[in-house]
């Protein structure tokens, strides 16, 4: 095919490009990046990214599989590249440590994270239903307040919150971790955005005509429609609550949550790096299980959040 023709219909730049492709022996198959299959180099880069992503947890498990002597000998490299039985021994020692109670901390974390996520999903969907589908005076103003409150940096209120918890007698109580985060602005915003699109007015009207109360409408119509977004919200809330460290370390004393075990490890097993690292792995691993089960949903959630802004 002549270059003159290409120049005629697509311009001189296209000719240059076509010639360049021809010189490299590759015909221009497709202009569209979404249908072009990437080469092996892309996969090599992705493999490196994968290795880096999982390396820290892997490294903690490998350190946890080693004795102090082995770690001391392994300067500049990992003490072992495959997990050994030592890991289970170390796990046993961490679980049975007298300085802290691992299982109590685990249950505390679970209790807080589950109740916070459940409450957040329920109250956020309720508020989202109201903001997106019901008409009432002041709706706009109230919704703007919700959005504006997201911009407040959380740490500013730390000191007064601590004083309040002290007055309530909630210091060292799980209530201090649970009650303030039962529902957040982000959740309300998220559910409102979702329900606006996912819940047709016709359904609500139909339910009303059938004589359902608003609450019944919410429970039977809005709640099921909101399920995908609610699951994502629950996941993010769970991860956030499980990993949070700053606020628990302000209000908790003897009662521990999972992240609060970490600062205890070095005190408990002073020089035994293997034990400390196996403890770190044990503390971080539960969320990894959640991730294996629901990682797909997390990915979709992050990407959807970006699109909706």
């Amino acid at each position: 095919m002549s270059t003159g023709y290409i120049e005629n219909v697509a311009g001189p730049g296209a000719v240059k490009y076509a010639q360049k492709r021809a010189a490299r022996g590759k015909p221009a198959r497709s202009y569209n990046p979404s249908s072009r299959r990437p080469g092996w180099f892309t996969y090599a880069v992705l493999a490196v990214i994968f290795v880096v992503s999982v390396f820290p947890l892997y490294a903690s498990a490998m350190y946890g599989s080693s004795t102090t002597q082995e770690i001391a000998r392994s300067v500049g490299t990992l003490p072992t590249w495959l997990p050994t039985l030592q890991l289970y021994e170390n796990f046993g020692e961490v679980l049975g440590a007298s300085q802290f109670n691992f299982w109590t901390a685990f249950l505390n974390s679970l209790l807080v994270a589950v109740s916070v996520s459940a409450a957040t999903v329920f109250f956020s969907t309720l508020a989202g239903f109201s903001f997106s589908k019901l008409t009432f005076r002041g709706r706009q103003v109230l919704y703007v307040t919700v959005i504006a409150s997201m911009a407040i940096p959380a740490q500013i209120g730390t000191i007064p919150m601590f004083i309040m918890m002290n007055d309530f007698g909630w210091i060292d109580s799980l209530l201090a971790l649970t009650v303030p985060s039962l529902v957040g602005a982000f959740g309300v915003f998220w559910m409102t955005q979702y329900l606006q699109e996912a819940l047709p007015f016709e359904l609500i009207e139909a339910a009303r005509v059938d004589g359902a109360s608003l609450y019944r409408t919410f429970w039977a119509i809005a709640m099921p429609a909101a399920r995908p977004a609610a699951a994502t919200l629950a996941l993010f809330t769970f991860v956030g609550s499980w990993n949070s460290f700053f606020w628990p370390s302000v209000v908790m004393r003897s009662q521990l949550t999972m992240p609060l075990i970490i600062p205890q490890l070095k005190g408990a097993f002073t020089s035994d790096t293997g034990l400390v690292m196996s403890g770190v792995f044990l503390v971080a691993a539960p969320l990894l299980i959640v991730f294996v089960l629901a990682g797909k949903q997390l990915v979709a959630g992050v990407m959807a959040g970006a699109v909706k802004g």
Partner: protein, 382 residues
């Protein structure tokens, strides 16, 4: 008779139900949003206002509210060399954690924005660090950067480091880089996915047009991709700023805590502002809630200023690089329409001349491609 009574009761019930229903419609919407506002009033708005009161008083944990001291707490904080040191540390860690993070996130997003096999697996793999507890990450990175860890002995072997002990816990700048790397580790994949979602929303015609004009893939990235994902980049940078200036977990656990640890190093090399606030209020240093509250206000002010600065900066940078391709939607559509008209025209001519055309093939693939783009968008929403 009995039948009549039943009907009467039924009608009366409907009337009462209607009144109830009207009441339901009026009150319920407020009832449904009230949990959020109740909680926000108690644990969001009130502490914000109360913080002013605390910052203006002498306040200790056990003694409680002391006497009114005006702005003494603020001036006390601003006179502390440690406060300024922690502020410098925070900004430095923010830069070391933020700039590589943004560059890498863009890069990873561009890599993921291809027609990959096992797409979901790669996307999940970049999100793993996000679910690893930050304090656990800090402990592990502390081990890696430690004297006998993975990094230091090898760097000594290569002659890059000549310290005996690990300099990452001594040298101020190196400690900032180490903590920055934890932040990069945690957030890069997360932000890459956000940017990826934005990239997939860029109309594919633009890339096609750029390819036809002879733009290399590099040039396409800078002149088509970046300007088109600008709003998302502003969003990413703003959230990064708000979070990045409140670093606490990584700095506190970098040296593993333990006795005397967790304060940001022997020389406060990596004490951040929030760590300073924590130590002022609850740590071993003092029991100065009033001053800590003042730090909270100062930090909020700094976050506000840096956020606005970043916002203006990103806007100006990406708009200057956007010039070559900054066209309005109508302009773009006009250009596309024009090109289609030209193509149709030449196709007609070619058909008249009895020549098989490449344009014909190009237009026939047009529709499947559009469907493809729609599909990927749907995937995002799901």
């Amino acid at each position: 008779m009995a039948h009549d009574a039943a009907r009467q009761r039924a009608t009366r019930r409907v009337g009462w139900g209607q009144r109830l229903s009207r009441w339901d419609l009026k009150i319920s919407p407020y009832l449904y949003v009230s949990p959020f506002f109740l909680l926000f009033a108690i644990f969001g708005a009130f502490p914000l206002l109360y913080n002013i009161v605390v910052a203006l008083h002498d306040w200790h944990r056990r003694a409680g509210m002391g006497e009114f001291v005006g702005f003494d707490n603020f001036s006390w904080v601003l006179e502390q060399p440690l406060f300024w040191r922690s502020l410098e540390n925070t900004l430095s860690i923010f830069l070391w954690g933020g700039i590589p993070q943004l560059v890498l996130a863009l890069l990873i997003a561009a890599i993921l924005d291809q027609n990959l096999r096992v797409k979901t697996f790669w996307r999940m793999s970049v999100l793993v660090p996000f679910v690893v507890m930050p304090v656990a990450t800090a402990m592990i990175f502390g081990q890696v950067f430690g004297q006998f860890g993975l990094l230091v002995p090898n760097l000594q072997e290569l002659g890059i480091l000549d310290h005996v002990a690990s300099p990452f816990f001594q040298d101020r700048l190196l400690s900032h880089m180490a903590i920055g790397s934890m932040i990069v580790f945690r957030w890069t994949g997360y932000n890459a996915l956000i940017l990826l979602a934005a990239m997939q929303a860029v109309p594919r015609e633009l890339y096609e047009a750029a390819t036809v004009d002879g733009a290399s893939r590099m040039r396409q990235f800078f002149s088509v991709t970046i300007p088109n994902i600008r709003p998302t980049m502003v969003f990413v940078i703003l959230t990064m700023t708000i979070g990045g200036l409140q670093v606490f977990d990584e700095a506190r656990m970098f040296d593993g805590g333990g006795t005397g640890g967790g304060k940001g190093g022997a020389d406060n090399q990596w004490t951040t502002v929030v760590l300073y606030l924590y130590e002022l209020g609850f740590g071993d240093w003092q029991d100065r809630l009033g001053q800590a509250a003042a730090v909270g206000w100062i930090l909020a002010l700094i976050i506000g200023v840096v956020s606005i600065g970043n916002f203006l900066l990103t806007r100006s940078i990406s708009s200057s690089s956007a010039k070559p391709s900054r066209v309005s939607k109508s302009q773009r559509n006009a250009v596309i329409a024009q090109a289609r008209a030209v193509a149709a025209e030449s196709e007609r001519k070619a058909r008249e001349a009895g020549v098989a055309t490449i344009i014909g093939r190009a237009t026939s693939t047009d529709d499947p491609r559009a469907a493809d783009v729609d599909q990927s968008k749907e995937g995002v929403n799901r």
